[in-house]
């Protein structure tokens, strides 16, 4: 097993997992909208936690860091507008913007 071979396998797995990531980004985007309630923000924090733990393994360490910041922001009740900016940045980081 060489780096390029594993890299190709990880890339194929990433293509399979993109819909899962896109759905989590959608959940996080909803939490950034005005009037998002506590349940929506909690679900979004959970989604951000999952992405923080996985994106780096797929070659997006910056995505993991952004997701961790979003999780912290959501759990700290940071205003939605600030969260929205981070979610947009995360979308661009992983090529789903």
């Amino acid at each position: 097993m060489t780096d390029p071979e594993l890299g190709d396998m990880v890339a194929r797995l990433w293509e399979r997992m993109r819909p899962v990531v896109a759905e989590r980004l959608h959940v996080m985007g909803r939490a950034a909208e005005p009037g998002a309630d506590a349940d929506v923000r909690a679900a979004a924090a959970e989604a951000a936690h999952k992405l923080a733990g996985s994106l780096g393994s797929y070659g997006y360490p910056g995505g993991s860091r952004l997701a961790a910041r979003i999780e912290e922001a959501l759990r700290a009740d940071v205003p939605g507008q600030s969260v929205a900016g981070l979610v947009d940045a995360l979308r661009r980081e992983v090529g789903l913007g």
Partner: protein
């Protein structure tokens, strides 16, 4: 002898990339479960696993609770937590150590070997 690893994580993307890393780089046989409750049955299976990798935050039974139950049942299989948020109390639950998420698929098997003293 091929080592058998059980990966317990509610995230499909983590289960799959861990499987990929451990099977292709480590050359090990990997089974997966999505929650702590399901892991209890697997952990008690025979022959025993050589390692169980546990997520911490999972719906239903979380990782630390499942590890305490597994240890209470007398299982001595090495257990490592795999988490984005390491905490001091995780080893108190009965695990043998903590690995960080996100992990590098190329080096995860080596990290495990080093942590458990397994030969390359």
């Amino acid at each position: 002898m091929t080592r058998r690893i059980l990966v317990v994580d509610d995230d499909e993307d983590i289960r799959e990339i861990a499987r990929l890393a451990l099977e292709t780089v480590g050359g090990w046989q990997v089974d997966t479960e999505p929650d702590g409750q399901a892991a209890l049955t697997r952990a008690a299976s025979s022959p025993p696993y050589d390692l169980i990798l546990f997520d911490v935050m999972m719906p239903g039974m979380d990782g630390p609770t499942a590890v305490r139950r597994i240890r209470a049942d007398g299982c001595t299989t090495p257990i490592l937590f795999l988490t984005a948020r390491p905490r001091d109390d995780l080893v108190d639950a009965g695990a043998d150590g903590v690995l960080r998420k996100p992990f590098d698929p190329m080096t995860l098997a080596e990290e495990i070997r080093a942590r458990l003293g397994w030969p390359a």
